[in-house]
């Protein structure tokens, strides 16, 4: 069974590769041009910087100002400005290439879905996951909106903001928002269990007992699930209504399968999933544009989203939500 699924996936992958290859070759040509232009600018800036620095040093020496600080400072400021300008050119070019790849992959694999390279999910979607702070330090882009069977979803990518130089530790995230198939009136959140992993079972549990943003800790009978996740909810019964034994098993399997950190929030008829620890999906300017890279960066997250929908049984409609 597993082998046949793997073979079917491989066939889909190869088919996708064949379809996107001609279009990606055009992007690759564009990348080469952008890379050449970047390298040319790099040389120009380098020689310009050296020239300016030499001229400024000469001017400073000629004027023989008695201030030695000025002699050092002026060339340094000039060099910094030139390098800052050069640094800005690279992300813009990488962004342009990545967007082209995203457009090709999504339009080819799922033409019925919408792809907006410049847009991202609205902040209220992940307010409950307490992601608003970390995501405010990130740039959101590549919004994909579609429907898989009965379930409408939105996917958005977040990467450390180019304006955020201080908090480099922020990881690339993938945020998914789905329609939830059950009636939920309260709020339930599921996080990776960092407290018990860092502080040990007893102390971690004591810390978690304090609750989270007014939500109570919920214990589950599934020890494997408890080892991986911590659940907080406004309603103990509703949390268990959402997290059925099969759902808990599914969440544990997903974590083991992908190795990423998954967080979930269930509120107001929606489920929001944040996946952390993903590799950066941007195509580096120096890296070749390949079907495999495009697949890993754009089709793989779609596969994860579909897997989440299947695992959480989101396509099973309950009678009151049909």
């Amino acid at each position: 069974m597993k082998k046949s699924i793997h073979k079917a996936k491989e066939r889909t992958r190869q088919k996708l590769f064949d379809l996107i290859r001609p279009e990606l070759e055009k992007v690759e040509d564009n990348r080469k041009n952008l890379y050449r232009a970047y390298i040319t600018r790099l040389y120009i800036v380098f020689f310009l910087a050296i020239s300016i620095i030499l001229v400024l040093i000469l001017v400073a020496l000629f004027m023989m100002s008695s201030d030695p600080l000025g002699v050092v400072l002026i060339p340094l400021i000039a060099a910094y400005l030139l390098i800052a300008w050069l640094n800005k050119l690279k992300p813009d070019a990488e962004e342009e290439i990545t967007k082209s790849i995203g457009e090709i992959v999504i339009k080819t694999a799922h033409p019925e879905w919408d792809y907006f390279s410049d847009q991202c999910l609205a902040e209220e979607n992940f307010d409950d996951l307490d992601l608003a702070h970390s995501l405010s330090l990130m740039d959101g882009e590549n919004l994909i909106a579609g429907k898989y069977k009965e379930t409408a979803f939105h996917i958005s990518y977040y990467r450390p903001s180019k304006h955020n130089n201080k908090e480099k530790q922020v990881e690339t995230k993938l945020v998914l928002v789905f329609d939830f198939h059950k009636e939920v009136t309260g709020k339930t959140v599921v996080f990776p269990d960092f407290a018990q992993q860092l502080l040990g079972t007893w102390l971690g549990k004591e810390v978690q007992e304090l609750g989270w943003h007014g939500l109570e800790l919920v214990y589950f009978e599934d020890h494997t699930f408890e080892k991986h996740y911590a659940v907080y909810s406004s309603d103990q019964i509703e949390a268990r209504y959402i997290l059925t034994p099969s759902m808990m098993e599914g969440l544990v399997t997903m974590k083991a399968k992908y190795g990423y950190d998954f967080s979930f929030s269930f509120t107001g008829g929606k489920v929001c999933v944040a996946i952390s620890g993903l590799p950066d999906y941007r195509n580096k300017l120096k890296d070749r544009v390949t079907p495999d890279g495009a697949y890993q960066n754009f089709y793989r997250p779609i596969e994860i989203a579909i897997d989440v929908i299947e695992t959480m049984n989101l396509n099973t409609r309950i009678w009151s939500k049909e």
């Binding site: 589950f220 009978e221 019964i237 009678w319």
Partner: protein, 182 residues
């Protein structure tokens, strides 16, 4: 003076530990009551399904009609609500078996099986049963926390003084999702 401060600190620390332990025990006891009330609310939803079931059964054989009458009478009994938890769950299990029996009998009739009202009924039963299963799990989790608290030191002291007894987890039957694939 130093000895006095040390003794005072020890007393304060002991009082603090005992207060926290007492409060925790009371919290667990209340959480158990709250979980049982939550379960009762969910069970009430099951009784609310019975009139819908009666509506579908109306056109069917006498056997099903008798079963639904028995089930409805069971749920409507005043004393039924006041039964001890264990006895109550036994009656609930009878009720759920009756519901299962009735719907299985109805499903044998191809005409009824295709009825939109019957399919709708089956799904609403499964939804209610999922909520009952969640309430049962919440109660059993609260019972485990309470049972642990009344045997652990120092809360065991308060449990003895207050006469708290361990409670059994509830053995309550629910219909699972496969039930709709009859």
């Amino acid at each position: 003076m130093t000895l006095f401060v040390i003794i005072t600190l020890i007393i304060l620390f002991t009082v603090l530990i005992l207060s926290a332990s007492y409060n925790s025990l009371i919290h667990r006891k209340n959480a158990l009551h709250y979980a049982y009330n939550g379960l009762e609310t969910m069970l009430q939803k099951r009784y609310d399904v019975l009139p819908k079931l009666a509506e579908v059964v109306k056109t069917s054989a006498l056997f099903e009609q008798q079963l639904i009458q028995q089930a409805s009478a069971l749920a409507a009994g005043q004393e039924y609500q006041r039964l001890p938890a264990g006895e109550r769950m036994r009656k609930e299990n009878q009720l759920v078996l009756s519901i299962q029996e009735i719907t299985q009998e109805l499903a044998k009739d191809g005409g009824v099986r295709q009825q939109k009202s019957f399919m709708h009924l089956q799904r609403s039963i499964v939804e209610v049963e999922e909520q009952i299963a969640a309430a049962r799990r919440a109660y059993n989790a609260a019972a485990m926390e309470y049972n642990n608290a009344i045997v652990m030191f120092p809360s065991v002291v308060f449990a003895i003084l207050l006469g708290y007894e361990p409670v059994d987890p509830l053995d309550l039957m629910v219909l699972n999702a496969e039930y709709t694939e009859l």
